[in-house]
């Protein structure tokens, strides 16, 4: 297995380098100097900043320098927009994102798998149709609508009627500088629970439909009929036989979502003022803050590659027929 992991990692290095190359090249189509200096820049300022940003050097040299920094895991370069070291920005942004995404992923996957199983077992009946109707409705509405309605009806209005209503409209200055603020249970309920509920509502539709399709396929297999014929209860058939055999697509689905734990959710973070990765990245893109965008690209690419390799490994662990070679 380790040989496989090392080999896959080596195979993916050119992919990783190519992603960074393309992103760095695409970024340099625009001039970030104007973004930093605004409307009133002099020629001397433009030249000074171009030099300070290292943009006057050949592209390949800029690329090589960035890769060399990655090799040394050196994220000390400062954000052009904020002046903070990029590594510090990433480390501070990961925990708030995780406070929302880990519960979202866990709750969504748990509910969606159960609903998928129930729907598959009641295929064609009212319960199945109702669940799928709700799922389709859930996924058809834009997340922005959920956010706007959620902030108004879920946080603002009840707070006017009920003293001590727990959900807050958005994160305020009390969060301070510590990125672990959201891991305090009281703070999590106040600032993260509503965003999590919205995320779950949106994601549930997609996941439920997917898991239902998987379960429906599994429920038609011979081993299910055999298990039922041998007298296994519906509960046992569903949660032991069927779930175990449906693990490959479930693992795939969950593993695809794993990098999302780190990358966060841009709209949710922007509207609820959660200082996570999504918000940091969108701010960096708006400000043409190349050091931050490049570091995020490298991190996201590495995460996706790692999760792909991990998925393959988990396939082998879940299904003995799969061999890593």
């Amino acid at each position: 297995m380790w040989t496989y992991i090392v080999r896959r990692t080596l195979y993916n290095i050119p992919v990783f380098l190519s992603i960074i190359f393309v992103v760095m090249l695409a970024l340099r189509v625009n001039d970030p100097v104007s973004a930093q200096l605004g409307k009133n820049a002099s020629q001397q300022q433009i030249e000074l900043l171009t030099e300070e940003m290292g943009l006057n050097q050949p592209f390949l040299e800029q690329y090589g320098r960035f890769i060399w920094k990655l090799v040394r895991l050196d994220f000390d370069e400062r954000s052009w927009d904020q002046g903070f070291p990029v590594g510090e920005m990433i480390l501070n942004a990961i925990p708030p994102s995780m406070a929302v995404t880990i519960p979202t992923l866990t709750i969504t996957a748990s509910i969606a798998i159960c609903v998928g199983l129930i729907s598959a077992f009641n295929r064609g009946r009212v319960i199945d149709k109702t669940l799928m109707f709700v799922a389709v409705i859930g996924m058809s509405i834009s997340v922005l609508v959920y956010i706007i309605i959620g902030q108004y009806w879920g946080a603002f209005l009840p707070s006017q009627k009920v003293d001590g209503w727990p959900f807050q409209i958005s994160v305020d200055a009390s969060a301070g500088e510590t990125p672990w603020f959201f891991f305090n249970p009281a703070n999590w309920v106040a600032f993260c629970m509503l965003p999590v509920m919205i995320n779950v509502t949106v994601a549930l539709g997609y996941d439920t439909r997917f898991y239902r399709a998987v379960m429906v396929e599994e429920s038609q297999r011979d081993y299910i009929r055999t298990a039922r014929a041998k007298g296994a209860s519906i509960k046992r058939v569903m949660f032991v036989h069927m779930l175990k055999n449906a693990m490959i697509p479930i693992i795939t689905r969950i593993m695809i979502s794993l990098p999302f734990i780190i990358t966060g959710s841009i709209l949710i973070e922007v509207y609820f003022s959660i200082p996570g990765m999504g918000r940091t990245l969108i701010n960096a893109i708006n400000a043409k803050d190349f050091p931050v965008i490049q570091a995020f690209t490298a991190l996201f690419s590495a995460l996706f590659i790692a999760s792909n390799i991990l998925t393959d490994v988990l396939y082998a662990l879940a299904d003995p027929r799969v061999r890593l070679s």
Partner: protein, 599 residues
């Protein structure tokens, strides 16, 4: 190991992790806020980029820096168009008509206590701190972002800047001919020639006084560790998220404006009540940055925020559109409205070097005036801004000397006047618009700009002018304008100080792109007049020159416009002494909280 044992171990570990996290979170920076007077205030956008005054340029940099740093002069809270001393005992004086200025610092003004000072105790400011702070504007290490404020103003300062930036090390101890220290608290600054705006510059946050020890101690991190003399000391700053500050216990005596200084209208709003009391009144200010207006609006409605600017999309929720009166349900809550005219100049400019639209021949001027006559700004105002903007002629915003009476100047090509537009089109060589290539207009990408662009397109089509708007993100748009690639472009200018000279500088030849003269307007007579007004104080003669310059720009039709915004605010009843202004941001120290009303 039994299942029970394993479960118990797992539960213990989980409890320990949760407990540790809880303790860690609660232990970090524990402050018992119950006994403190705290105000929560909003910043709509991403907030400041830097807390180093010389690197600041935006309103939000200003808003943040003004809490920690102070300038020699400041605007008056009662009337922000006027200035008063802040770190000085009196307004600077000049005995030679404005070339040499004499300054006297207040004694016993101390920097914040900070570890950069021996023993952590802030020391008193001196004349050397003033010189040091101004010299930082000349240091290329700070990107010279604000050098334009003092460029060509102080005797020998340009030479100092060039020499030091060319040297291996920027020497802050090297002398500048125009800086003359008399003693620790008294000094003179000698200008190359009298430049009236110099005093305004000394009230701008970029010229705030910083401590050299702090700059050297924090190095690259100085921009996030402000050490000034201001009323508040930074507690936490999470970029694009929040900024909190605690009262400076050693703040020098600054008093709330006397009762007699307030106008009748202000007195009706009970702004005079704290007259003569020492500030600041609150122990802590907490700013939250809102990237979207909805959460800010809801937090204000909930009573959490002291005041809010009324976002465009919420205007009709707060005010009756026709009467502009605050709606009944807000009045019942005790919420108070406030509004300010901004020193705004919103325009659609022409690149005077463009082959099609630029130039100074009668045909070229006729073409630009035809375009201007065909555009109906009032229709845009009514459709998109509920008629809340002021449409005016000339680049001088309402409220400043040189602004035309009733917002109209004869020299302007104010639309809509389609017959005049057609007549001028024929004079320009494009009768009925025939043969005129499409006009490329560059603006920043927003839903509103797109919609306004469509209306202008329709208006110009009525005289057969084809209008091709192109939208970019703001920086790409500026890049296009800076590189003189945009034939026509649109954005806004907010005056840096309340003097028309600041707006007239937008058409001064040497300021051409990438400088502030984005129109690349070059007319020697105009430039000569501009150089003349630089040395003039307020007078009828100066106002007459302002009007002459305004009319030159209007006759040549360098842009189509302008418009000025009115900013509306709502103030919760528990926030006292609040008179929001965007002219300066040192007024947060005057705010107070009525705890009973808030509860």
């Amino acid at each position: 190991m039994s299942i029970w044992t394993r479960t118990r171990i797992s539960l213990t570990i989980a409890a320990a992790v949760v407990g540790a996290l809880t303790l860690q979170t609660q232990g970090a920076g524990v402050v018992d806020k119950d006994d403190l007077k705290v105000i929560q205030l909003p910043i709509l956008t991403d907030g400041p980029k830097s807390l180093d005054p010389v690197e600041g340029s935006t309103t939000y940099d200003n808003m943040a820096c003004a809490q920690f740093y102070e300038t020699l002069l400041t605007n008056k809270y009662t009337n922000p168009m006027e200035m008063e001393p802040l770190l000085l005992t009196e307004m600077p004086t000049s005995s030679d008509g404005g070339t040499t200025w004499h300054f006297k610092l207040k004694p016993d003004v101390y920097f914040h206590d900070n570890e950069c000072f021996p023993g952590g105790k802030g020391r008193a400011i001196t004349a050397d701190d003033v010189f040091y702070s101004l010299k930082r504007l000349a240091d290329a290490q700070h990107k010279l972002e604000n050098w334009w404020l003092l460029d060509g103003t102080i005797l020998g300062f340009n030479q100092y800047k060039d020499e030091q930036n060319a040297a291996d090390r920027f020497d802050y101890d090297a002398p500048v001919e125009g800086f003359r220290k008399i003693n620790d608290l008294e000094f003179e600054i000698v200008l190359e020639k009298p430049v009236y705006r110099f005093l305004y510059v000394l009230s701008m946050f970029q010229t705030s006084i910083v401590a050299r020890e702090a700059v050297e101690f924090y190095g690259d991190d100085f921009s996030r560790n402000p050490v000034g003399t201001g009323p508040f000391i930074l507690d936490t700053w999470v970029p694009k998220q929040s900024l909190t500050a605690n009262r400076n216990p050693n703040y020098h005596p600054v008093f709330y404006p006397e009762r007699s200084e307030w106008s009748k209208a202000d007195k009706r709003n009970r702004l005079h009540r704290a007259g003569g009391k020492q500030v600041p009144f609150v122990d802590r200010v907490e700013f939250t940055m809102f990237a979207e207006p909805q959460p800010m609006w809801l937090e204000f409605s909930k009573g959490k925020l002291g005041y809010t600017q009324v976002p465009e999309e919420y205007f009709t929720e707060a005010f009756d559109l026709a009467s502009r009166e605050l709606k009944e349900d807000w009045l019942r809550k005790g919420v108070r409205p406030h509004s300010n005219m901004l020193l705004d100049f919103t325009f659609r400019g022409f690149n005077m070097e463009d082959e099609l639209l630029g130039g100074y021949t009668p045909e070229k001027i006729a073409l630009r005036r035809a375009i201007s006559y065909a555009i109906d700004l009032e229709e845009i105002n009514k459709t998109f801004y509920n008629g809340r903007r002021i449409v005016y002629d000339g680049p001088i915003p309402p409220g400043l000397d040189g602004h035309p009476e009733n917002h109209r100047a004869e020299a302007a090509a104010r639309g809509p006047n389609l017959s005049k537009a057609q007549e001028l089109l024929a004079l320009a060589g494009y009768p009925n618009g025939e043969g005129l290539p499409p006009i490329r207009f560059v603006s920043s990408q927003t839903t509103l700009n797109n919609a306004v662009g469509e209306m202008v397109k329709r208006q110009l089509a009525e005289v057969n002018i084809k209008f091709e708007p192109v939208y970019f993100d703001f920086s790409t748009m500026i890049e296009n304008v800076n590189k003189k690639k945009a034939p026509m472009f649109g954005f806004a200018w907010a005056s840096d100080y309340p003097d028309a000279e600041n707006n007239l500088a937008l058409f001064y030849g040497p300021n051409e792109s990438p400088g502030s003269n984005h129109y690349n307007y070059k007319r020697p007579e105009y430039d000569a007049l501009y150089e003349k007004i630089l040395t003039m104080g307020p007078s009828d003669e100066r106002t007459a020159i302002y009007e002459q310059m305004r009319d030159m720009v209007l006759e040549d039709c360098v842009y189509v416009g302008g418009m000025a915004r009115e900013r509306f605010y709502l103030i919760n009843p528990w926030l006292r002494n609040c008179k929001p202004t965007e002219r300066y941001y040192g007024w947060f120290k005057f705010l107070d909280v009525d705890e009973e009303a808030r509860d």
